[in-house]
């Protein structure tokens, strides 16, 4: 029977592939590399360290076995049960992990009948370090095989699994609980066979709003990067103002702890006092430490001294380190250090001239200027001035989100046109080098 959670008392665990699959297309080095990366998934986020050994005393002995192999868990040929592992403990089999040698083990295969060895190994090593099965559909510890999980070098555990393993071992010191692990560099780790040409493990998504024709719910500078929020999605720009991906990311998958049914946000800003990130929606707000919501939220916006009705915009002005909230044609000035609203607000007349009376959002940027967003346009107010720079408003889509004029004008425009933009003569010189677009893609 599945026992209560157990864990290793030591943090350094040895492993070894004792027997390899006998009739597999996967070579020994590939199998060892996949085991290495499957263990690394867990050691990346916990204080556990795994090292491969040659002797017969490894904590985690890995075998490819058939049928009855004398451990009480006989395999049953192709399909059915495909692998198992023993929980931590003092027993000599603790940590041992067995794969059914009758399965067609694959890696980066298009064969739908095959069994992705990396995906199964991540699951089994979860058992080997103490995790039991869980019903959550997204979890790698769901008992059923759910197909390949993508590139082993980029695999990121589902949140449920991170939390459960952190409960057993805590968080690895060098890792933020919210950070996504960097893609591994091949020079430090075993090599894996390359993907066949013209194949991708991640299908292109065609969902979410069109960044070139939409106006945004909220815009914020967070940790020096720009975030453009629309509906359930957001786009992210690096500190160098390079769009991370043409495809939007899902707010709820990145910012953990917002209500599952939240379909948009009103305003977002990073507090200068403690660098926590504040999300506003209606009369409530949430405070995030990195990507995770703090306990006790949501709270009413009356905490800020704001009236019911929500806010349109929120940003911290570099000039005086005060936070400004906007709603319709009113604005408030808030002191995040003192945690109180400054007296005399709301006010109808804004400090800044030449910006619209109602805003979608505003943000400070690393050039010292303040940017105000409304509809498809934005205004720049340079540092130490109180008036929008001449030449504004300009197009958000064109200047921030790598869209050409035709794209930003045509609601039906597709992201795929970005690559053809140079041919149309609508070239954004600020982001081009030698006639090529310069993009930074993290995934």
């Amino acid at each position: 029977q599945a026992p209560a959670a157990t864990r290793w008392s030591k943090r350094n665990l040895s492993w070894r592939v004792r027997t390899f699959p006998r009739e597999s297309q996967l070579g020994h080095d590939t199998v060892r590399a996949l085991m290495y990366y499957a263990l690394k998934v867990w050691s990346d986020i916990t204080p556990l360290n795994f090292h491969e050994v040659a002797g017969s005393h490894a904590d985690i002995q890995i075998d490819f076995s058939k049928a009855d192999h004398s451990d009480g868990y006989p395999f049953d040929g192709p399909g059915g049960t495909v692998a198992h592992a023993f929980f931590p403990g003092d027993h000599h089999t603790a940590g041992d992990t067995h794969f059914d040698d009758d399965e067609s083990w694959t890696f980066r295969s298009s064969d739908a009948q095959g069994m992705d060895l990396f995906a199964v190994a991540v699951h089994e090593f979860g058992h080997a370090i103490g995790l039991t099965h869980i019903a959550a559909l997204d979890s790698i510890m769901r008992p059923y095989y759910q197909g390949p999980v993508g590139d082993p070098l980029k695999y990121d555990l589902p949140y449920e699994d991170k939390v459960r393993i952190w409960q057993l071992y805590g968080v690895r010191e060098s890792v933020s609980p919210t950070a996504k692990p960097e893609a591994s560099q091949a020079e430090d780790h075993p090599l894996l066979p390359e993907l066949p040409a013209n194949r991708s493990t991640i299908p292109l998504r065609r969902e979410g709003p069109n960044r070139c024709s939409t106006h945004f719910d909220a815009v914020a500078q967070i940790r020096g990067e720009a975030f453009f929020f629309k509906g359930k999605y957001f786009w992210r720009l690096t500190r160098n103002k390079h769009l991370v991906s043409l495809q939007p990311a899902q707010i709820l998958r990145f910012w953990r702890g917002l209500p599952p049914n939240m379909d948009s946000v009103d305003a977002v800003y990073e507090r200068t006092s403690d660098h926590k990130i504040v999300f506003f929606k209606g009369d409530r707000y949430w405070v995030f430490k990195d990507n995770n919501v703090e306990e006790g939220y949501p709270r009413p916006i009356s905490d800020f001294g704001l009236p019911p009705g929500g806010v349109d915009a929120a940003f911290s002005w570099a000039h005086n380190d005060k936070t400004y909230f906007f709603k319709d044609n009113l604005y408030w000035r808030y002191d995040d250090h003192e945690r109180r609203m400054d007296p005399g607000y709301p006010s109808e007349a804004t400090l800044w001239k030449g910006i619209p009376s109602t805003l979608d959002d505003a943000m400070r940027w690393s050039d010292g200027a303040t940017y105000f967003f409304r509809g498809k346009e934005y205004w720049k107010v340079p540092d130490s001035t109180l008036e929008a720079e001449p030449g504004f408003p300009r197009s958000i889509a064109r200047d921030w989100l790598v869209c050409g004029d035709m794209q930003s004008d045509a609601p039906e425009a597709e992201e795929g046109r970005a690559g053809a933009r140079a041919k149309q003569g609508k070239h954004d010189e600020s982001r081009s080098e030698n006639g090529y677009e310069v993009c930074s893609c993290s995934s």
Partner: protein
Amino acid sequence: GPASGPADPSLGVEWLTRFGYLPPPDPVTGQLQTQEELTKAITAMQQFGGLEVTGVLDEATLELMKTPRCSLPDLAATRAKR
């Protein structure tokens, strides 16, 4: 062709026992399980598997039982062996 109605619950007894949804066979009563126990076990399996909970071995439940999976049981023992 597809089954027209719920399957015989005993078909899933071995599977439900192996993965922790039914207690191991009692040496006195042999393989006999009460209908109530079977229904509860199927219900628990359906909940754990993210299926619609019907309490009967319907097509979706049988399909999930055929899905390749880990050998370890899903649930801890809820009662001790007699």
